[in-house]
Structure formats: structure tokens, C-alpha cells
Amino acid sequence: MSGSDLLPAERAARLSAFTLRPGRPLIGSGAGAHRSPRRGTSIDFADHRPYYSGDDIRRVDYHIYARLDQLVLRLYEADDDLTVRFLIDTSLSMSVGDKLLRAKELTAALGFVALEHRDRLSVHTLDGPPMSFNGGTGLPALLHHLERLVGRGQTDLGGSVRRVLSSTAQGRSGLNIIVSDLLSPGWVDAIRLAPARGAATIVVHVLHPDEIEPNLSGDLDLVDIETQDRVSVSLDPTQISKVKATIAEWMNDIRQATASLGCTYVPLRTDDNLDERLVEILTSLSGQRT
């Protein structure tokens, strides 16, 4: 697999018009293209605040001091960079039915957008070390990294999120993008932890259509691809509808959980048109720039 497979040039061309713009200002680690909740040195006036000892006296608004005889500092908007953290579920379950491929393609596309805008980008997997990508050379490296990702091991999404957060520098909130099939009971932990420290969170829920609408029947031993756990089922239409109801309930839980935590929930079927879905995602994040 080459990098162009994960990110076709046409897609890249189309995505170059987009930027990753979370709905609210996020604290970055340095100057960047994103509005920061902090006050900074931009030319955009933001606010006044009283002067406290130690403040840079160059920022005192002398016009106000002249009028009101109060030392008031003039605050300007700060433009931060954005830290985008991808948490890609690389468990064995993701290898089922192109889910991992879709995850990689999605990561590559969004990563491209991030890197285009000089955002900081890190890619976390369940088992490997986190990888950061910056600047103009970041994209090839990202693609190379993504290509090498294979599904292995079990899902410990909660743990992974915790690890991701722990590795994050204090004060940097950033954008967490979790790409997973969420097929483990730990999905709740992951979603609950992800928005911590003010990070904006997008949960991309990658599922194969057969996982939403199971196409199985008869007496089966279902083997968990990760744990090798076996579940014996006798699937008749009643049982199948029961399972489908469970799946629908699970997905609904995820939707509600993400909504309540202020996360963006993006369900992605492997048979979806990825380009359209990307446009949807990016539009919902930032809107088209003109």
C-alpha cells in the first residue's frame, strides 16, 4: 500500500480547501492559525483587564489610563496552533472488513488537512508509541506510519485514551479524534475521558454493514476475533432481531453519550462514500472557506 492509496491526490486536492476548526477556541502549544482561549499578541483586540503587578507595561492602555486614571491592560486575541490527536483503534476487530483501512484513510485525510494548516498532529494506537507529525514533511511520514499500522491485539479503548491524555502536555487541550469500532465494553470510558482537559473530541465510529445488520443464521459458534471467546448462538429470525435491537441500542447509547459530553459523533460505515463523509465532517467542524 502506498501513501497515495490512503490519500488519493484528488481527495487531497479537494480537502485542501478545508481546515480543522473545532467549534470552540482551544489552547495550543504555540502560535498557530487557531484562535486560542488565551490572550495573545495578535492584532485582534479582545478585552481589557486591570493591571497587576508584573504585567508587561507595554500593554497598558494609556488611553484609558489617561481618561480614567486606571491601569488597564489591553488584551489581544491569541492564535494558537491546534494539537490534533488521532486515536486509532488498531485492535484485531478493526481488521474485519476494511474497517482499519477506512480508519487509515480517514486519518490520512484529516491529518492532511491538519498538517496543511500547520497543526500539530499526533497519532496514537493501542499498542505502539504515539507518533507526532509536523510541518511540510509531516504528511509523508504520517502516511508511511499509517500504512504500517495493522490490526492486532485487543481493544482497551479506555486505557488507550487515558494514556493519550497522560502524554499530553498540561494546558493543551486540542482535538482528539477517536477512530474505532467501539466494539468493547470499554467504549464508555474512552468517550468519557476523551473530552477531559477541554479537548474537543470527535468519535468516528467505523462499522462494517454486517456489524450493524448481521447476516448470520443457524446454529453457530461465534468466535471473538480478539479474545477467541466463543458464544454459541442458534440464530433464527427472532434471535437475529434481538441481536439487531441490541446493536441499535448500543449505537444509540454511543450517540447519546457523545452528545452529552459535547463530543462529535461520526458513524462511518465501511461502504460509505468516504469523500462525502469527509466533507460532512470537515464542514461540520469548520465550514468551507471561501
Partner: protein
């Protein structure tokens, strides 16, 4: 239900693997899924991974077990058992005569018969076998157990065009009886059999009627004569329907169509029309556009070839001018030349006339030629004419006379006619006042006398006039046309020994080699028989023959019942045999449904790999296909080299016990060396042939052998039967074990049939040596002699070697001459002179004895001489004489006759010994003789005596004869001028009958091993019920100490209901019949019927027989009749008087076996109600000699009602319905007269004691009275030589001699005139017994002499001295391509035999295969044969395949597109600008920055 193959139950073990398959844990398919936690909701608890699990009921399991059960059932070949009235072996006799082609039922009667036979075949007992015989004597199927073969054979039957050959059919059918099985017979026919034919049928035969309607139009006769202008066809059309019919008749002459002739025939009438046709030789007539129902088409056409008549010179003499009509009629006859008389052309020929016609003038007193006389003023010869009778009304036409046959004179009116006294001339047509037409003879010239001028009636205007004139001239002038019309079915024969060619109507020519018999005519139309001369000098002679459908076959009214056939004893047989009806087809059909259901139930894959599951599905498909195939029940024809040899063992006396032993040794030796696959059958034959052992594998000869007629040898019927029992599914051989000495049958034809059937005939010689045999080769005595005359008796004694022999001559029981003589080898003439006694009949026997004589049968011969003397009458008295008070009048009659100088020999009828008794007898008188008192042979002898010897027969009635004597349909009745039934529906009465059955303890005695007397009584009562009509009443009561009415008096229930009720009769204690008669009468009184009858069955004992007699007498007075049928020692003493008092019949039953037939007979008698009692005065209805002079007559108080036959004449009629009292007709040479009342003891007392010479006159009238001459017949070797001699017979006289043999068959003898003026001829006489020879010498159609003689053959040809005929056996064998004489070791040799074909039934194997296939499919469906965990293929959800298409099409967008499709993602990639990602990114950045700037 029964199982034919109990081993099939083992298939039930298949249930074990099925259950095992179900308790084996189903292998679960392992499917890898991303995660299982969402699936836990659907998880089912699964116990530890043991291979077994608890058996759970499921639809597949239920259906599979049901399937196993049905398969098991199918493999056991289940059958449903039913009781059946059929025997183990049933011979189906199919009537395939022409009338079976009638289409009153669809498709035709034979078609209906086929359907009936097929359904009857299914009712055969378990393992029963069937044979099929057709009434043309062919065996279509023999002793075959396969229903399918039966159906196929039945389907192959076709309607023939012949009449049934019942003699041959009965022989063949009875020949198929096998020693090891009960054999029953079923006749499927429309009942068109004569009473005589019916009696030939096997006893116990079951008749299955076919056909519903007899509506038929037919051409019953087509005669063609030459006329001066061409041809005159006389066509007679018979309408047998109840509707008037009109039609057009199409004639063709030499295949040229003529204008149609319209014709109308009234319902049930006959029309004769004369049609003029152009000259030609072959005439065909066919009915077209018929307006009334005509269900039989084959008789709508007729063929005739023009007869060649001798030319006749006719001279007409008339007073003034001859009748114009007469002249025209004579001139119209093509064969007539008018001479000397009043010919139209005025030419006067002086030639001698052959016939003279006198119209209104007196003929000369001595005629020069036969004459036709019209109203001669003074009469002529014995005919005297007196004053004219004005307008006489025609009342009698003697249609038995050939001149009058078929002529309808009913519309003829007369202005006036002479009053004639016919003298001894025969009256042909008469009015009550006077005879109108008579024929007679004066001296040597015959004449026909019309008592009226042609113009004095409208006769000349009627169609019958030219016909009548034609017949009279032809008859008187000796111009009868040569016989050239035959019926289909006759064999074309000719005296020529040359090569012949037969041309069929279709034009196909068939050469017949010299010496071979000609073919049978099997098609209607014109046949040609060309004899090629034996050498070149002889010309080829061609005979053209018109073959028509047998006239008997035109009568197609179907009969529902055969009167002379004793119906099968159905009630008695019920429960003794059980039939099996296979239900395999139903089982397979059910199995197919179950299999399809199971297929549906397991349609989802469970646990096993997909490929295995597919294999299971395919296997199920195969199983269904196999079941479907089994349902069709296919068969596979495979050639087989298996040899089937039928041994035909000659058991005739010429072979002797030693020969029979040799034959059995031969068979045993052959069987010992028979290969295992070979099959063998054994038949035994003599004069007839029987199956000893049906063809089977590993035959073991049993000791029992059927009885055959050992006094004759018929190789032909043996070969035919052997051919019939040879199975078609083998290479067939027949081995004839015989001495080759045949006495009858055409064995060359039979061997030819064998060759055509592909059967080889080999032979082995068995027989006894007859070294010291002596025999009487011939023995003769003068036919007539006078008392005191010296007679020479001549004999030829045959000796095999020189020996001394004792020769004994007896006259009656007395030894006349006895001496020892020396015999040379070969024939030795022997003669002795004796003096004849004064009167009586001399019967001689000659016996020869020698020391080493082994064949005793040929040592005795008989001869007889009749001594001139007074008339002798044989009086046969009926048995009623012995128990009825006053006898039956025979003694009084004998006394009356004796008083008028007639010698009377009185005998009980049962002791009538046949032709022997008839020697020297002029007339026979039977007095109240019951049918059963004369057996078939006695009746045959009587028939021969009457027909051939001209002995008169007078039959007097009584309560045991005619209708009450069960004459109806009997051979005896065929001889009588009346039929013992009344068809007038007005006279039909309904009957109420009560049957009283003695159920005392003694009735439980076994009669024939299986059945008790009571069983037979029950069967008899059931049979009696069947004889009754629907409106009749019946009641049955069992009487012991009590009375039990098992069937109270009621309208006749259906057969089943009656049998069921009657079966409740149980044996009880003592016998008290008294009182039961009154009880029965009370119950019968409620029924509104004309006749109330009580029938008592007893075994001979009752407490008080006198009381019973009084009871019966009382009932008699009240209008009831009582009959008694009984058996047992005291039956007669106790019960005969009861029957007399009760006005019924006493029927001694002999042993109980006869009960069913006696009951049926008694019921028929009662139901027909033919006894008429009252007080009647007879009316004279004829001018015949015995009644001509009767002026007063006593009354009769009763008589047997009967119907006059069409050609018979009633002398006296009696009663309200004008029943014939005295009737008479000519039967052959003899005359038969009946007296319907009795001999005087009950009804005709006034007549018996009457002074008038009525009885003498009546009996003398029957005696032969013609000319002087003698007939002498001698049997020498196998040939009978007949010599008819007389004095002064005219030069043109001819003799017609008929010989009736001991078997009742008549043969005509070709006679030739010898130099001394007598006639000599010879005929084959192979059988032992009496032969009746009748001779009639005629000159110009005028009888010159009539007489008869008997010849007795002491022993049959079987015993004639002679040696083994090896060449005959070899010749027969060679004809079939056989090896001639063979040894026992060659009996089963395969070489040279035609390969047979056998059919393998495939249903069973197919079912077995289906069972196996099903088991496999269940296993494949359920049991996983590969380890699931180790090799579970990873099942991945569907993955979209990506295909990359590289294109350099410039129209494609430069940018890459990705299209989605259902199955794959097609990635269209333009040949990318040589770029890498970096360049691309640079480019996009630039574009963006451009965008920003803008």
C-alpha cells in the same frame, strides 16, 4: 395387510442411524466476528462439548422417522388382504368373437371386458396366477403371476371376425389347470353362445357379462343370381332395434359402384329386397346412412359371388293362356330355357324339359319331369282338389322348408283357392280351411302344387313371388347354385394336393405349399383360391369365395346371464381364498410427500460445511428422483439365455404304464442335470392335455398327475399347451415324450405354430413293445336280416406275431361260437355263419385272447343286425315313476302302443345306453324325464339317433320335464320344437319363496373335506336368492328344535345382504319341521305376488312326516306349493309324499354337493312359473296326420307352458295364451313331437284313457317313412366305410350321408356311386363308441330313400396294433428346427435356441437405493465429517473488491474518480501526471494561495 417380503422389515434398522444422527451434537459452524459481546443476548446455553446431546423432537426427525417407516413398509412389499371368490389360478376366457366389436359400450365390448378383467385380476388370491385364453382357442398368457404381464396381454387382445370356437377354447382352458392349484374360470363375453356351447365350458365358471344393447342392423343374407339382363341380388336386412330404420344400400359389382337403393326396415323385423344389377361376378352390398341405432358395424356389409347354375329347360303348359306374371317370372331366370310350351318367341323346342309348369290344366297322370302345378282342376297325385274356398286367410307357413325360408307372406290375400286334401304331401302354406301350397312326390317325380291361380291372389305383385318361383324351379330342376360363400373363420381347403395360391381381399397373395393346410379365412371380402395343377398338363383352377361375417355373430343382444352355465359358488367360496392388493404405489407416493416435506424442513444449512450441505441437497434430489422412478414401476427387458424346457408326457394307453415310467425317468434324469437357472414344466396328454407342473425353477416332480383321456392321443393339443406354458422370458424348448402314435389333431399345423413362436421341439421315444398283441381289427354284420336268415359275420384279426388265439363270439350275453385258431403275423380274415332268430335286435361281440397279449383294449369288437319285424319303440320313463303315486303314465302308454301292434321296450331314462339301445328302434318316447336323468353322452346319442338315423322322438311332459325339468337351454331342448320359457311380459309373475333349512346336528357333517352340509346349504340358499328378480320375495329359516328366521320374508335383498343373513344359520339339535310350513305360509301371505312357494331342505329325518304331509296338503289347497330338496337315507320315504301333497317337486339331492345347483334349478322353475293348471280344451291348429281327424278331444287339467320354435308346427294349442300342446318339427332325418301335458297321472287322464288311436298315430307320425334301401356302416382301422344300397334308384340320384360320432360332432361323408347303383363313402372314425349314420338319397330334390344305421367301434385308434412312429416325431422336430430324438442330458442344452427376454422389476431396487440415498443425505446434512475448529475457514463479511482501470482516454477527467458499484469499486486512474505527493501538495498550496489572493 400382509407383507410379501418380510425381510424388508430389516430396513427399519435405518431408524437407528437416523436417531444417531440426531443425538450427535450438531457441529456448530464457527464464525469469527469482530466482537462477541453484543451477541451475548442471543447466546444459547451449550453444555460441555460432549459428542451427544439429548434427542430433541423436531420436524426433520419426525419426517425422517416417518420416511424410514414408509421405506421399510415399501421394501416389505405390503399388500391388503381381502376375501375373494377367486381360485389360486384363474383362467380368464375372453370372448374375442366378432360381436365383441359392438360399440354399445365404449370403446367396444372387448374394451369393457378388458377393463373388467383387469379389475378382477386384482382380486385374485395372494400369489395367485392368471391365464388368458381367447375364444378362438389361443392361449395369450399362461399361468403367470405378474399383474403387469396380465395387463399387457389383455391390452394386446383384438376383436376377431369369427364365431367363438368353444370346443377348442374349453379344451385349452381346462388344459391350463395345474395339479398344484385350484383353478377357476372367468368368461368375459356378451353371452352369444348356444346352449350346447355353454355346456362345454368348464364347470364352476364365472360369467362376466359385457355389453348393454343389441340394437343392430345387419345384412343377414345376400344372394346373387344370374338373370337374362345381368344379376339379381336378393338382400335381406335385419333390424334388431326397437326403432324403425331407413337406410340406403350401396351395391358394387366388380368394384363398380351402382346407384344406391333405399330400404326401410320395421323395428325387430326383416326386409328382403330384390335388386337388379348389371352383369358381373362379385357383388358387395353395404348399409349406409342408417337412421336407427346400429352398434355393430362389421355386419353392415356383405359379399357374394355369382353362383353358377346348371341350365334348366322349362316347359309351360296352360289351358288358355299362361299367367303373364308366371311367364315373366320364369323368363327372368337366367339359367332357364323355355322349351316347347308357350315361349314368347314362338320357338318350339322339342327337347326334353327338366321342369314342367302346368297353369290351370291337369298334368298327365305320369310325369316325365318334376312339375310346378297351379290349380289343376282335378288336383294331382295325392293332392285332391274340390270346390273353391272363397277368400281363405293365410294362417301357416312352413318356414323350415328351404323353399319358404325367409319369405314373408303375411300380406298375401287370396280371392279364392281350391279346397285341397294334401294326402301325404307336405303342406308349405295353408289357411285354416285348406292347404294353399303343398309339395310332394308321385313315384319318382317331385312336384309343387299351388291351390290357386297366380292371378287369384296378390302374390305375383309381391317380392316373394319371383324368389319363390326361382327357388321352386331351381329346386325341381336341380339347379342349385354351387356353394361359394363361407363364413369368416373357416379354413380354406381343397381336395387338390397341388401347390395353391390364396389371395386375400386386400390383394395380397399367399402361396400354400403342397400338402400344407390352407389358411383360415380371417377377413370378410372376396378371397381367391387358385389350385395349380400337379403337372403342366393340368390347368390352374381358380375358385372365388365370398367370406362374410358369421350369421350367428349378427345376433348381438348381450346376455346378462348364461342359463346353462352353473354359476360359480360364490357364497360357498367366500372366505376360503384371500386376495392381495399391492399398496406399494401408495406407500411410495406417501414416501415422496414425506421426502419433499423433509427436504423443506432441512432447507437451512446447519453446522456442516457448505459443500457438504450442497452434497446433502443433491443427494435428496436424487432420492426424490429415485422415488418418482419407483412410483412409475419401470421394468428392464434383458435378454436371457436361460433355458425353459417343457416336457410333454404322452400318457395315452398306447404308451402304457411302462412307457409312462420311461417318460418320468427321462424327465427326472434331465432335471438332475438341469442348470440352476433353467426352468422346467411338465404337461401330460392323451386325447386332451393338462398341465402337471407349471414352468418353474428347480422343478420336483410330484406323484400326483392330472387325469387325461388316455384312450386317444392328440399331439397337436399337447404341443399347443406346451407352447402356452412355455414362458416368454426364456429360450424355449418342448420335449415330446411319446410313441408318436396320434389318433387325432393336426400335429403338423401345431408344430408349425411352435416354429413361428420360436420354440424348438425335440422328442424322445417312450412306449411299450407289443410283441404278442392280438386285436380285432374289424368286425361286421349285415345291417338288416329277417328271421331264420343265414348271416355271415366277418372280422379281421390282427396279430403282431404268429400265435394261437381264443376267439369268442357272443350274441347278447350268450356265447354263439368259441374256438382256438392259429394267427399269422398281420391281418387274419375270420368269418362265421349263424342263423338269425325270429325278431328283435341282434348285438354281437367278438373277443380274441392270446397268451402274450398286452393290449387288452383292442381285443373286443361289436356289431349289430336289425331284424325285420314290427315297429319297435323305446320308451324312456322318467324317474318320477318311482315315487309318485300312479307313476307317470309310461306303463299305460306302453300298453296302448302294444295293443296296436307296436313292440315297446321300456327303460328308465337314466339307463339309456346310447346308440346301442337305438339299434332297430323306429321311435323313442320319453315320459316326464328330467334333464338331469340324461347325461350329456346320452343326449348326444339321442340327438344322433334322431338327426342321423331318422328315429322319431316323442317327448311327453309332466311335473319333472320341460320348464320344471330344467330343459331351458339344454342340449335336449335343442332337439325339441318348443322352448321351455315364456317371454310374454303379461304372463310374468312375481314369486315369494321361503326356504326352510334343516339345521339339525347332522348337518354339521363334513361333505367334501372342507365344507359341511350346512355350509353347502347356505351356499345353496344364497344361490337361490340370486336367481330371483328384484321384485320377488325371499325368506330363510333354520329349523331344528326351534325356528330361527335369519332372513324374514322380504323383497329380495342384494347378494351381499342375503349371504350375510344366511351365514347366521347355525347347527342346532333335533329336527322338528312340522309347523314351519304353516309359519312360512303365514309370512309369505303378506307378499303381494302371484306365486307363493316353500322349499324345504332336509337331510331326511323329521319327527312326524305324516303331519307334515297333511300340512303340505292344506297349504296346497290354500294356493301354496311345497318342494323338497333332500339327501340322506330316509329322505324319499319321509319327504317325497310331502312334495306330492304340496304340489311341488321332490328333488333327491344325492349327496349335498349338488345342493347349490339343485336350489338354483328349483328357484328358476318356480320363478319361471311355467306350470299352468286349470281346465282346458285344446284347439286343433294343423292338418297334420295325427290331429287331422280329431273331432272331439278330452280336456287337459294342466300343462307346461312353452314357446313354439319359429320353424316348428303346433298341432294342438291350449290355454288362454294359445300355448302349444302338441308341437312337431323335423330335426335332421328324424321328426320330434312334444306333448306339453303329462302321461295321464295328473293332468291328461282323459287323454291317457282315451280309446282313439291318438297316441299311436302321434308316435307313428314321427317314424321315418321313406323308400326302400339299406345303410351299412363298418369301422375298419380308423376309417368308417358307409354303403347305401337300394334298388331302381334313378341315374341322377345323389346320396347325402351324415355321420355323428360319439363326441356329438357330425361329419358329412363324400359318397360316390358304384357300378351296382349303390353309394359308398368313407370318413375318419378315430374314437371308440357308437356312430350314427344317416343317409338321404334324393333324385332331383325328391327324396328316394331315407334311412340310418349305427356302427360301433369297440376300441379307439389308440389301441390299434402298431409300432412306435419314430419318423413322425422326427418330422415334427425337424419342422421346428429341432434335433429330432434326443437324450435326457440334452434337455437343457442352450444351443440353437432363440434368446428370450425377461423383465426385471426395478421398483424394489430403486426403493432400496432411495433408502440408502436418504441415509446419506441425512448424514451429510447433520454430521460434520471435517474437524470444525482446526479447519474452519475464516468467514469474512463481504469485501468489496477494488479494480483499477488504467486509461489514457483524454476525455476522462484528469482527476481520479472513484465509482461505486454494487459489487466492486472501480478505480479509474488516468495515467497520473508524473507526480508524487510532494508535488501535488505544492501544487495545491499554490492554487490555494492564488485563491486567497483573488
Amino acid at each position: 395387510m400382509n407383507l410379501l417380503n418380510p425381510w424388508g422389515v430389516l430396513a427399519g434398522l435405518l431408524a437407528i442411524p437416523v436417531i444417531v444422527a440426531h443425538i450427535l451434537r450438531p457441529a456448530r459452524r464457527s464464525v469469527e466476528v469482530s466482537s462477541t459481546w453484543l451477541w451475548r443476548a442471543a447466546a444459547v446455553p451449550v453444555t460441555a462439548r460432549k459428542p451427544w446431546e439429548k434427542l430433541r423432537w423436531s420436524w426433520p426427525l419426525v419426517l425422517q422417522l416417518l420416511g424410514v417407516a414408509l421405506l421399510t413398509l415399501g421394501l416389505t412389499q405390503p399388500v391388503i388382504r381381502q376375501t375373494t371368490a377367486f381360485s389360486d389360478h384363474t383362467v380368464f376366457i375372453f370372448d374375442n368373437s366378432a360381436s365383441m366389436g359392438a360399440t354399445d359400450v365404449a370403446p367396444n365390448r372387448l374394451g369393457e371386458a378388458k377393463q373388467k378383467a383387469k379389475s378382477l385380476r386384482r382380486k385374485l388370491p395372494s400369489g395367485g396366477i392368471a391365464s388368458i385364453v381367447t375364444t378362438d382357442g389361443q392361449v395369450v398368457l399362461s399361468t403367470n403371476g405378474s399383474e403387469r404381464s396380465f395387463d399387457r396381454s389383455v391390452d394386446s387382445l383384438k376383436v376377431g371376425l369369427t364365431s367363438p370356437d368353444i370346443v377348442q377354447t374349453a379344451l385349452v382352458a381346462q388344459g391350463l389347470q395345474t395339479a398344484d392349484r385350484d383353478t377357476g374360470f372367468v368368461l368375459l363375453s356378451d353371452g352369444q353362445l348356444t346352449a350346447a356351447e355353454q355346456r362345454l365350458l368348464p364347470p364352476g365358471l364365472r360369467f362376466e357379462p359385457v355389453g348393454v344393447s343389441g340394437d343392430n342392423l345387419s345384412i343377414s343374407q345376400l344372394l346373387v343370381d344370374q338373370t337374362s339382363g345381368g344379376l339379381a341380388a336378393t338382400i335381406t336386412v335385419r333390424n334388431r332395434s326397437s326403432a324403425n330404420a331407413s337406410m340406403s344400400v350401396k351395391f358394387t359389382v366388380d368394384e363398380v359402384a351402382q346407384p344406391d337403393v333405399a330400404l326401410a326396415v320395421a323395428a325387430n323385423a326383416t326386409t328382403t329386397q330384390r335388386v337388379a344389377l348389371p352383369a358381373g361376378s362379385r357383388v358387395k352390398a353395404s348399409l349406409q346412412q342408417v337412421s336407427s341405432p346400429d352398434v355393430f358395424g362389421a355386419d353392415d356389409q356383405a359379399f357374394a359371388v355369382v353362383g353358377q347354375r346348371r341350365r334348366v329347360k322349362v316347359k309351360i303348359s296352360s289351358g288358355s293362356e299362361a299367367s303373364v306374371f308366371l311367364k315373366r317370372a320364369v323368363q327372368a331366370l337366367s339359367y332357364v330355357d323355355i322349351v316347347d310350351g308357350d315361349g314368347d318367341d314362338g320357338t318350339k323346342s322339342k327337347a326334353q324339359a327338366d321342369v314342367e309348369i302346368f297353369d290351370g290344366v291337369n298334368p298327365p297322370s305320369s310325369l316325365a319331369a318334376p312339375a310346378l302345378i297351379f290349380a289343376a282342376p282335378d288336383g294331382y297325385g295325392p293332392v285332391t282338389a274340390s270346390k273353391n274356398t272363397p277368400a281363405p286367410a293365410l294362417s301357416f307357413v312352413d318356414t323350415s322348408d328351404p323353399l319358404m325360408v325367409g319369405l314373408d307372406l303375411s300380406d298375401i290375400l287370396f280371392e279364392s283357392a281350391q279346397t285341397l286334401s294334401p294326402g301325404d304331401a307336405d303342406v308349405l302354406v295353408s289357411a285354416p280351411e285348406t292347404p294353399l301350397i303343398v309339395r310332394g312326390s308321385t313315384g319318382t317325380q317331385p312336384f309343387v302344387y299351388f291351390g290357386f291361380e297366380p292371378e287369384a291372389s296378390n302374390l305375383p305383385l309381391d317380392i316373394s313371388f319371383p324368389v319363390l318361383i326361382d327357388r321352386i324351379i331351381a329346386d325341381l330342376g336341380g339347379a342349385t347354385a354351387s356353394e361359394s360363400a363361407v363364413e369368416v373363420g373357416t379354413r380354406l381347403t381343397t381336395a387338390s394336393t397341388a401347390r395353391r395360391t390364396v389371395t386375400r381381399p386386400s390383394g395380397k397373395a399367399m402361396p400354400v405349399p403342397a400338402g400344407e393346410p390352407g389358411p383360415s379365412i380371417d377377413e370378410a371380402g372376396f378371397w381367391t383360391l387358385a389350385d395349380e395343377g400337379t403337372n403342366e398338363s393340368e390347368a390352374t383352377s381358380t375358385r372365388r369365395i365370398a367370406a362374410n361375417l358369421p350369421v350367428a355373430e349378427q345376433q348381438i343382444e348381450p346376455k346378462r346371464k348364461l342359463d346353462s352355465v352353473t354359476q360359480g359358488d360364490k357364497a360357498g367360496a367366500a372366505g376360503t381364498n384371500r386376495s392381495q392388493r399391492p399398496i406399494l404405489r401408495w406407500v411410495i407416493a406417501a414416501l415422496l410427500v414425506v421426502a419433499l416435506g423433509e427436504w423443506f424442513a432441512v432447507r437451512r444449512r446447519v453446522g456442516v460445511p457448505g459443500r457438504q450441505w450442497k452434497a446433502a441437497q443433491i443427494s435428496r434430489g436424487v432420492v426424490s428422483a429415485l422415488l418418482l422412478s419407483a412410483l412409475i414401476a419401470p421394468r428392464l427387458g434383458v435378454p436371457t439365455k436361460r433355458v425353459a424346457t417343457v416336457f410333454a408326457l404322452d400318457a395315452s394307453d398306447s404308451v402304457g404304464p411302462a412307457g409312462r415310467r420311461q417318460a418320468i425317468e427321462f424327465v427326472e434324469a434331465a432335471l438332475a442335470k438341469a442348470p440352476k437357472s433353467a426352468r422346467a414344466g411338465v404337461i401330460v396328454f392323451g386325447g386332451n392335455a393338462r398341465v402337471t407342473a407349471a414352468t418353474q425353477r428347480q422343478l420336483i416332480l410330484s406323484d400326483s398327475s392330472p387325469v387325461v383321456d388316455a384312450t386317444r392321443t392328440d399331439l397337436a393339443s399337447a404341443l399347443r399347451l406346451a407352447s402356452a406354458v412355455s414362458p416368454s422370458d426364456a429360450s424355449r424348448r418342448v420335449i415330446l415324450l411319446s410313441d408318436g402314435r396320434r389318433t387325432e389333431g393336426d400335429d403338423t399345423v401345431a408344430s408349425e405354430e411352435l416354429r413361428r413362436s420360436g420354440i424348438r421341439l425335440d422328442a424322445a421315444i417312450v412306449g411299450r413293445s407289443q410283441p404278442g398283441d392280438v386285436a380285432v381289427a374289424s368286425f361286421s354284420a349285415p345291417a338288416k336280416a329277417t328271421g331264420g336268415e343265414r348271416l355271415t359275420l366277418r372280422a379281421v384279426l390282427q396279430a403282431a406275431e404268429a400265435t394261437q388265439a381264443l376267439v369268442t363270439l357272443k350274441a347278447g350275453p350268450d356265447i354263439v361260437d368259441q374256438r382256438t385258431i392259429d394267427l399269422r403275423p398281420g391281418p387274419n380274415p375270420w368269418a362265421v355263419d349263424i342263423v338269425a332268430p325270429a325278431n328283435g335286435v341282434l348285438k354281437y361281440s367278438l373277443e380274441v385272447k392270446a397268451a402274450n397279449d398286452v393290449v387288452v383294449e383292442n381285443d373286443l369288437a361289436f356289431a349289430a343286425t336289425s331284424l325285420a319285424g314290427p315297429f319297435r319303440v323305446l320308451l324312456l320313463a322318467g324317474d318320477s315313476n318311482t315315487y309318485e303315486t300312479g307313476g307317470n303314465g309310461s306303463a299305460a302308454l306302453a300298453a296302448t302302443l302294444q295293443s296296436s301292434g307296436i313292440e315297446v321296450i321300456t327303460k328308465p331314462a337314466a339307463q339309456f345306453s346310447g346308440l346301442d339301445d337305438l339299434t332297430g328302434v323306429s321311435a323313442v318316447v320319453m315320459v316326464d324325464v328330467h334333464r338331469r336323468e340324461l347325461n350329456s353322452d346320452q343326449v348326444k346319442a339321442l340327438t344322433a339317433g334322431v338327426r342321423e338315423l331318422g328315429i322319431g322322438l316323442t317327448v311327453l311332459g309332466g311335473t319333472n320335464s320341460f320348464g320344471s325339468g330344467n330343459y331351458l337351454g339344454s342340449e335336449l331342448e335343442a332337439l325339441l320344437p318348443v322352448v321351455s320359457e315364456v317371454n310374454d311380459p303379461k304372463r310374468e309373475t312375481n314369486v315369494a319363496m321361503a326356504i326352510i333349512i334343516d339345521t339339525s346336528g347332522s348337518m354339521s357333517a363334513p361333505v367334501d373335506g372342507k365344507r359341511t352340509a350346512l355350509d353347502l346349504a347356505k351356499a345353496a340358499a344364497g344361490g337361490a336368492t340370486r336367481e330371483l328378480k328384484e321384485k320377488d320375495y325371499i325368506g330363510v329359516v333354520g329349523v331344528d328344535d326351534d325356528r330361527e328366521w335369519v332372513l324374514d320374508v322380504q323383497k329380495r335383498p342384494d347378494d351381499d345382504g342375503a349371504v350375510k343373513a344366511i351365514s347366521k344359520l347355525k347347527v342346532g339339535g333335533g329336527t322338528v319341521i312340522e309347523g314351519s310350513l304353516t309359519d312360512a305360509a303365514q309370512r309369505l301371505s303378506k307378499a303381494e305376488v302371484g306365486v307363493r312357494h316353500i322349499l324345504v331342505l332336509s337331510d331326511g329325518y323329521t319327527a312326524d312326516s305324516n303331519a307334515l304331509i297333511q300340512e303340505a296338503a292344506k297349504l296346497r289347497a290354500a294356493g301354496y306349493t311345497v318342494s323338497v330338496v333332500g339327501a340322506g337315507p330316509d329322505i324319499e320315504a319321509n319327504f317325497s309324499k310331502v312334495a306330492v301333497a304340496g304340489g311341488g317337486r321332490f328333488i333327491p339331492g344325492g349327496d349335498f354337493k349338488n345342493l347349490p345347483s339343485l336350489f338354483a334349478e328349483e328357484t328358476q322353475t318356480v320363478a319361471r312359473n311355467l306350470v299352468v293348471e286349470g281346465s282346458f280344451l285344446p284347439r286343433i291348429t294343423s292338418a297334420a296326420a295325427p290331429v287331422r281327424d280329431l273331432t272331439t278331444a278330452p280336456e287337459v287339467k294342466g300343462y307346461q307352458a312353452s314357446t313354439l320354435r319359429p320353424t316348428a308346427q303346433a298341432f294342438l294349442r291350449v290355454g288362454d295364451y294359445d300355448d302349444p300342446l302338441v308341437a312337431s318339427w323335423q330335426a335332421g332325418l328324424g321328426k320330434v313331437t312334444t306333448w306339453a301335458s303329462d302321461g295321464g297321472q295328473r293332468w291328461a287322464g282323459g287323454w291317457a284313457n282315451w280309446d282313439e288311436p291318438f297316441w299311436t298315430s302321434l308316435i307313428k307320425d314321427t317314424m321315418l317313412n321313406g323308400g326302400t334301401g339299406s345303410v351299412r356302416a363298418t369301422v375298419d382301422d380308423d376309417t368308417m366305410t358307409v354303403r347305401v344300397s337300394g334298388t331302381d334308384w334313378p341315374a341322377d340320384a345323389g346320396a347325402l350321408v351324415t355321420v355323428r360320432g360319439p363326441d356329438g360332432t357330425a361329419a358329412e361323408v363324400q359318397m360316390r356311386r358304384t357300378s351296382d347303383g349303390s353309394f359308398v363313402g368313407s370318413v375318419d372314425a378315430p374314437r371308440a363308441g357308437g356312430y350314427a349314420v344317416g343317409a338321404a338319397v334324393t333324385s332331383n330334390g325328391n327324396p328316394v330313400f331315407r334311412g340310418g344305421s349305427t356302427a360301433i367301434r369297440g376300441y379307439s385308434a389308440e389301441y390299434r396294433p402298431g409300432a412306435v412312429e419314430r419318423t413322425r416325431l422326427e418330422g415334427l422336430s425337424k419342422r421346428t428346427g429341432g434335433r429330432g430324438i434326443i437324450s435326457a442330458s440334452d434337455a437343457f442344452d442352450k444351443d440353437g435356441l432363440t434368446t428370450g427376454q425377461r423383465n426385471l422389476a426395478l421398483s424394489g431396487p430403486l426403493l432400496g437405493l432411495a433408502a440408502l440415498g436418504w441415509l446419506i443425505s441425512i448424514a451429510l446434512w447433520r454430521i460434520q465429517f471435517r474437524s470444525s475448529l482446526a479447519t474452519t475457514p475464516k468467514v469474512r463479511p463481504r469485501k468489496l473488491r477494488t479494480r483499477t482501470v488504467v486509461t489514457d482516454d483524454p476525455t476522462q477527467p484528469a482527476s481520479a474518480v472513484r465509482e461505486m458499484s454494487k459489487e466492486e469499486i472501480i478505480q479509474v486512474t488516468p495515467p497520473l501526471p508524473p507526480t508524487n505527493l510532494d508535488q501535488l501538495l505544492t501544487k495545491t498550496r499554490e492554487e490555494r494561495s492564488k485563491g486567497r489572493r483573488s
